[in-house]
């Protein structure tokens, strides 16, 4: 391979074991991020050392000592004398950070030598990928293509360091709208699904769609995927196709008719499922919604009492309660509270089982309010529709659409699902051994400052201990500096797209050279800087456009369904179970029923998935007799009053 440059060291710019300098011809293809190989002619311990480095800084200057000399040369006229017959002597000097010494010992300053562009094999050695790209036992996950000059080398992440157990978690930073965060995750998930070794176990992904339609069309092919993208997919060995196994979950809207998601087009309804929880599910995570300002120790004690002694069991208290209660839903809990407080009032009691009446009123207010705050997610009747915990499928993506929900509901969903994933992974009965949880806007859920919330504590727990369980956090945010340092610090791998210059000025980026920071602030779409435990220095890669339909294009191609009537919503829900259900049949069936009753019947039917959907649904409704005309004789009108009767009305 031709010589690209030569190492140079001066007293002012000496070489060290971790940095060296070299010069090149003016037209060399070297740039910031280029990986180079240095060959020294001076043997050390009987071997000729080879050093690999990545260019982190560049300098260019001429033999002009001061700008004033250049001014004099042009007689002060920038446009004067356009064609000097000789170009000034000019230099391109680069600084490179050492990626690897071969041999590793003795670790010495980089010696003088020739500099070459790294080949495919060089890139693998420089990034220590040779340790995990062993044929037949590779744990490499392609993250992108490193390009420099004519070189285009795949860069692989080590699955053991991306999904555990050695290290885990991924953090992505980048400004919005430049195909960094969502696109990178979509691409990387496809790459993981294509390359994660089967012997390492099964893997699935749970993605929280927190804004817009970003993740709503993962099972639809991309609208535009050009030849360059397909070439990238081919080179990296990833099929250019959408995800084959995707399920969507979304709570109902506040009305309860339709699901609260932008993926509401009927053509895509086949894999969209409701996400609804009842009292038991929510009470487990009540602390997510009840912050410390709301609930003191006394209230906490009452909530624990309700969880342990009241819910899901026969509860009697003849002194205060008029009857036995079996509390299984928010509605039943409300009736229990009402009965209890009424009993206490009648007996003029200030406390019940050490709980003061004020505490009871406060807890009643907070708990029963949850079903209002999280309407659509939390059902009064206790109907549960949940992710298929225990039946997760290999290489499946489960998207939970929380984009249109209030923050409280988002927190509740996130906490409960992640906790369930952890519990099932601990018991090894989730259905897969590894779960990737993707969360965008991490700075909202795990901020570096602000109150210590349940969600943040849980994210910290995943970041620090999740890798042992196979629970892996892929998180994204615009400003990494605003995320809790223990969360980003525990992310073994970090991806950076185009960054905001203000963000790059924060201390977290101080280890990057000014040139690298400049490159980060001007990255094109589809380019990433990658940090990985095996890489001594960050490297720049290019990744293909995701092979799935983007959110923006998706909502254009699959417009949101218009607002539905109750009957239309019921029809659509039931048709997912039985396509003989018609709108007329539904109208006929629910004509006399209350709206709440109809929704409860639908929820129960969806939960039960009965063989005879129509019969089951009808059975959930109260029996009513339609009014009909009788055969009784028509009533005779009263005799008319005379028109001249002065007392007539």
């Amino acid at each position: 391979m031709s010589i690209l440059g030569r190492v140079v060291a001066t007293e002012r710019k000496p070489n060290t074991p971790h940095e060296f300098h070299f010069w090149t011809a003016l037209d060399s293809p070297v740039g910031i991020g280029t990986i180079v190989r240095v060959e020294s002619a001076q043997p050390v311990s009987g071997a000729l050392p080879v050093v690999y480095g990545v260019v982190v800084e560049g300098f260019g200057y001429t033999d002009v000592e001061t700008p004033l000399h250049e001014v004099l040369g042009y007689d002060g006229e920038p446009g004067g004398d356009p064609g000097a017959p000789t170009r000034r002597t000019e230099i391109r000097l680069y600084s490179a950070a050492v990626l690897r010494h071969v041999p590793e010992e003795p670790l010495q300053p980089v010696a003088m030598g020739t500099v070459h562009l790294a080949s495919d094999a060089d890139v693998a050695i420089a990034l220590r990928m040779d340790a995990y790209l062993t044929p037949g036992a590779s744990t490499g996950i392609p993250v992108g293509l490193y390009r420099s000059g004519a070189t285009a080398s795949p860069v692989y992440l080590d699955a053991d360091f991306l999904l555990g157990p050695e290290a885990a978690h991924l953090n992505i930073s980048g400004v919005s709208g430049l195909a960094t965060k969502t696109s990178a995750v979509e691409w990387l998930l496809a790459s993981i699904f294509a390359h994660f070794p089967e012997k390492k176990g099964r893997v699935a992904a749970v993605c929280f769609n927190v804004k817009g339609p970003d993740l709503c069309f993962l099972d639809q092919p991309a609208a535009k995927l050009d030849d360059a993208d397909r070439a990238l997919y081919d080179r990296l060995g990833v099929p250019a196709e959408p995800f084959k196994d995707v399920e969507y979950y979304a709570p109902y809207t506040a009305k309860g008719f339709a699901l609260n998601t932008l993926r509401s087009n009927e053509a895509l309804a086949y894999n969209v499922k409701p996400l609804t929880w009842g009292l038991r599910e929510v009470l487990q995570y009540a602390e997510v919604l009840l912050n410390k300002d709301d609930v003191d120790a006394k209230a906490d004690a009452l909530i624990d009492f309700i969880k342990e002694r009241v819910v899901d069991q026969e509860f009697t208290d003849p002194k205060y309660l008029t009857s036995a209660h079996r509390v299984q839903s928010f509605g039943e809990l409300e009736r229990w509270f009402r009965d209890l407080l009424s009993g206490m009032e009648k007996q003029n009691a200030e406390s019940w089982r050490t709980h003061h009446v004020a505490t009871i009123r406060k807890v009643r207010n907070r708990l029963t309010n949850i079903s209002t705050r999280c309407r659509g997610l939390v059902t009064d009747d206790g109907t549960v529709s949940d992710l298929p915990f225990g039946e997760f499928r290999d290489r499946a993506v489960y998207v939970v659409d929380v984009a249109n929900l209030e923050a409280d509901a988002q927190d509740l969903i996130f906490s409960r699902i992640v906790s369930q994933l952890r519990e099932h992974l601990e018991k090894r009965d989730l259905g897969v051994e590894h779960v990737i949880v993707f969360v965008d806007e991490l700075n909202k859920y795990a901020p570096s400052d602000g109150p210590d919330t349940y969600v943040r504590a849980m994210l910290l727990d995943i970041a620090e201990r999740g890798r042992y369980l196979g629970l892996v956090l892929f998180a994204a945010q615009q400003f990494r500096s605003q995320v809790h340092r223990r969360v980003v610090g525990n992310s073994g791998t970090a991806l950076f797209g185009r960054m905001d210059p203000d963000e790059l000025a924060t201390p977290g980026y101080a280890t990057l050279s000014p040139a690298t920071r400049t490159k980060l602030s001007t990255l094109e779409k589809g380019q990433l800087m990658v940090r990985h435990p095996h890489f001594s220095q960050p490297v720049f890669v290019r990744f293909p456009r995701p092979a799935v339909l983007s959110g923006r294009e998706g909502v254009e191609r699959f417009p949101q369904a218009p607002e539905q009537t109750l009957e239309e919503a019921i029809t659509r829900s039931l048709r997912a179970l039985d396509n003989t259900v018609t709108l007329d049949w539904v109208k006929e069936t629910v004509a006399l029923a209350e709206e709440e009753e109809v929704l409860r019947a639908r929820n129960r039917t969806l939960q039960a998935k009965p063989d005879d959907v129509k019969a089951f649904f009808r059975a959930q409704l109260k029996r009513r007799v339609r009014s009909e005309p009788t055969d009784a004789p028509p009533r005779q009108p009263l005799k008319k009053s005379p028109t001249d009767d002065p007392y007539g009305f």
Binding site: D63, V64, E65, T66, H69, L72, G73, Y74, D81, G83, A84, P85, T86, R87, R88, T89
Partner: protein, 336 residues
């Protein structure tokens, strides 16, 4: 111990030479060499008894010796630049006033292609050597030089009496010897160029001593210093008053031991408000090739080399950038 000094490949540095001398094995001399390494600047940077400034009458070869000729717009024509450098350092054997001078000389032609300069012929010519009056050195020191296989260029002419001389006179002799070696390298390169190429060569300094090259139509010498001013009649006032892009009438220079050349003065830059020699050069071409039209043409070529300026060199008003490039290149290679 074998000497590390290899004269065949252009000599070596003072440091290597002193190391070789110290390690040289001389029967009966166990004391080793004791040569004081100078701490001062190179001889070329110290004041010397230079030739005093003078006016030299010259034979005009154009009709009106006092005429001023506008040469026209610059034209780029030079394909290459030739220059050399020299660096001399004096060393004194301990307790002796007879100086040893280590001289480094080098010359190069930098060829222009696509507005960038490259070394012509593959490599520059570089030579290093010691110069001293051998007869005045101690026999023990000479023996040590022999033992180390380091030749000494004798600065005394054959037949010169080995009498004690003023050390500065000896230094001047050595410095002249070094300068002569540099000129020889430059002549060699100039001849190689004119023998093999067809494009004009910009030579730093006069060409009358350039051997065959001095007679070549390709050689153009450009002299920057004016300790000797060539005048014909009343032409001195004309020369000092030249405006930019104007030349004096040409004249003939006939050195005693060198070739006859045609020469004229040319003002490269506007000298208003500056000393009379600002931007003033003297151009030399082969006498046989001279015509007035050619003098104008060559002047236009030289004018084109005003840009880029050679700052920060102090001689920037008269120095072509290509010549500065030659010097920088040779300094980088020789460490001079």
């Amino acid at each position: 111990m074998a000497s590390t000094y290899d004269f065949a490949v252009g000599g070596t540095s003072i440091r290597d030479a002193l190391r070789a001398l110290k390690n040289a094995s001389v029967p009966g001399d166990e004391s080793g060499s004791s040569i004081v390494t100078p701490a001062g600047p190179a001889l070329e940077l110290t004041p010397a008894d230079a030739t005093p400034p003078r006016l030299e009458p010259a034979e005009p070869i154009e009709s009106d010796p006092t005429a001023v000729r506008e040469v026209g717009e610059p034209v780029v024509a030079f394909a290459a630049f030739l220059d050399g450098i020299q660096t001399s350092r004096a060393l004194y054997p301990d307790g002796d006033s007879t100086p040893l001078v280590h001289g480094t000389v080098a010359a190069v032609i930098r060829q222009r292609a696509d507005r960038a300069l490259h070394t012509w012929g593959g490599a520059p010519l570089i030579s290093r050597a010691f110069h001293a009056p051998v007869a005045l050195l101690s026999p023990r020191l000479v023996a040590r030089f022999h033992a180390a296989n380091i030749p000494i260029e004798d600065t005394l002419e054959p037949g010169d009496a080995p009498d004690a001389r003023h050390p500065m006179e000896l230094l001047a002799l050595a410095r002249n010897a070094v300068q002569r070696r540099r000129e020889l390298l430059e002549i060699e390169l100039a001849e190689r160029w004119t023998d093999s190429e067809t494009a004009p060569l910009f030579v730093d300094g006069g060409i009358s001593g350039a051997g065959r090259a001095s007679q070549s139509v390709l050689s153009v010498g450009v002299v920057k210093s004016h300790r000797t001013l060539y005048t014909a009649g009343e032409s001195l006032a004309v020369i000092t008053a030249l405006k930019a892009a104007a030349r004096s009438a040409a004249f003939e220079i006939r050195p005693k031991y060198r070739s006859t050349v045609a020469s004229w003065y040319l003002r490269l830059r506007d000298a208003r408000g500056r000393d009379p020699f600002f931007g003033l050069v003297r151009v030399e071409i082969a006498r046989e090739s001279f015509t007035s039209a050619r003098a104008d043409e060559v002047s236009r070529w030289v004018l084109a080399e005003r840009s880029p300026v050679s700052l920060p060199d102090k001689r920037w008003s008269t120095m072509a950038y290509g010549i500065r490039d030659c010097e920088e290149y040779l300094r980088a290679l020789t460490g001079a």
